[in-house]
């Protein structure tokens, strides 16, 4: 039986209050959202917080709403299951449903939140690549006010973000997807259909203009210290016609620019192979969806 060590526990009713407790107690206080990662690391003894600040009593942080003509605002405390099953998300940004649907098991997805998944800054995040190709903006609120930052600028290293002490993510804004845009998130784990940690995760987004790629974004997880954009692969896609050969070249480029490690799950060289395979498949899927005329 694994037991949690004692800690002080707070249920603030506002972000300001939560932010104050988190700032006062400094690095010994952790915000609690879904808890599916935090409590596991506490039980394993990886971290030992003196204080937990449960954010879930703060109202208004879990909604999913349309905003600005096709854009979407997702509360940081929306659960992964909320996102996976949301008709709104499925309609406007279906790639996020695809990513949510392969994160952990259903009971975990009922607890885990999108804010927790991003705030944890795990290199193996399933939500990060999809949010990155969608160019999500993260709204954060701290004692000195609120700000919005690009998702690409949130990750500082494995397990660390660029958020200041006491700064709390409140929502994610996804700009509307352009017409003739398709996106896909593909993940390789040990089990098919998700359920476990990604060995490699790849999101790709393509916007076609007169059948040629006008926008290309590729984001990878589990292949470096943080989720990352494969910029050279993106540039290759935009350098000419969207042929099979070019997609294969881009996939090779993505594998080359990633910096995976060997760990207990698999070797770096295996990860490189899988990055290439999944990037190619994700590009193909994104292209098909883009050609379908809508982001289906």
């Amino acid at each position: 039986m694994i037991r949690l060590k004692a800690f002080s526990y707070y249920e603030p009713a506002s972000i300001r209050e939560a932010s104050e407790i988190l700032t006062q107690t400094n690095d010994k206080a952790f915000p609690l959202a879904g808890g599916t990662d935090l409590l596991v690391r506490m039980k394993r003894g990886v971290i030992r917080p003196a204080v937990l600040v449960n954010l879930k009593r703060i109202t208004g942080l879990s909604g999913i709403e349309n905003e600005n003509d096709g854009g979407l605002r997702i509360g940081a405390l929306a659960t992964i299951a909320d996102i996976e099953t949301s008709p709104l998300v499925r309609k406007t940004h279906p790639v996020l449903c695809q990513a949510a649907g392969v994160l952990g098991s259903q009971p975990l997805r009922n607890l885990a939140t999108v804010g927790g998944n991003i705030g944890r800054a795990s290199p193996a995040s399933d939500m990060a690549p999809a949010l990155m190709v969608l160019q999500a903006r993260v709204a954060a609120q701290g004692r000195s006010g609120s700000r919005e930052l690009e998702i690409d600028h949130v990750f500082a290293g494995p397990g660390s973000t660029t958020l200041a002490a006491g700064e709390i993510m409140t929502s994610f804004f996804l700009p509307a997807m352009a017409p003739a845009t398709g996106a896909a998130y593909l993940k390789m784990g040990r089990r098919s259909g998700g359920g476990d940690c990604a060995l490699v995760g790849v999101a790709a987004l393509l916007t076609l203009e007169k059948a040629e790629p006008g926008t290309a974004r590729i984001a990878l997880s589990s292949v470096g210290p943080t989720p990352l954009r494969a910029k050279r692969a993106e540039a290759l896609i935009l350098s000419g016609k969207l042929t099979e050969e070019r997609m294969r070249q881009a996939a090779r480029a993505a594998a080359e620019e990633a910096a995976p490690i060997t760990d207990m799950r698999c070797s770096a060289s295996y990860r490189k192979e899988i990055i290439e395979v999944l990037t190619y498949r994700a590009l193909q899927e994104a292209k098909q969806k883009a050609q379908g005329g809508k982001a289906a």
Partner: protein
């Protein structure tokens, strides 16, 4: 640090004081003596501790009891009504859908949550819904048959 909670479990209201670090699983087993909910890995991997929180399956080893305050919990003990088993429970018996039984409460609760939402699920939907629970005996085929039968209202 003690925290006061007000929680509904299987239709009964409980007002209790718990240590902040008490998980919902420990509260159910240790305080309420509802030992039908099992602890396996304690880390959210095996799923044997699944209960329904406001009708949705969750790993109770990863929920603080304090965090479950104000919410409705259903455990395996809460499924039978007036001594009559829930159709999914009866179907597990009729289909011999277990060997050691350790994962059974979590399997049944996961199946119940699915059938409440989708009375006639596809095989793929059942597999997805039960994917959070590991059965080490390898009873999966019979479990699948039991849930399919319960979904069709078969005896």
């Amino acid at each position: 640090m003690k925290v006061s909670i007000d929680i509904h479990v299987n239709g009964e209201r409980y007002q209790k004081e718990v240590e902040a670090q008490t998980t919902l699983l420990e509260f159910l087993r240790g305080t309420l003596h509802l030992t039908g909910t099992k602890e396996g890995c304690g880390l959210g991997d095996c799923g044997t501790c699944i209960v329904l929180l406001d009708g949705k399956p969750v790993n109770s080893c990863l929920v603080l009891a304090a965090d479950a305050g104000g919410r409705k919990v259903t455990t395996i003990e809460g499924l039978a009504v007036d001594g009559k088993l829930h159709p999914v429970q009866q179907s597990f018996i009729d289909n011999s859908a277990f060997q050691c039984g350790f994962c059974t409460p979590a399997m049944i609760l996961s199946a119940k949550a699915l059938l409440d939402k989708r009375p006639e699920p596809t095989e793929q939907e059942i597999k997805q819904a039960l994917g959070g629970v590991l059965c080490r005996c390898g009873s999966h085929q019979k479990i699948l048959a039991a849930v399919q039968a319960a979904g069709k209202g078969e005896k």
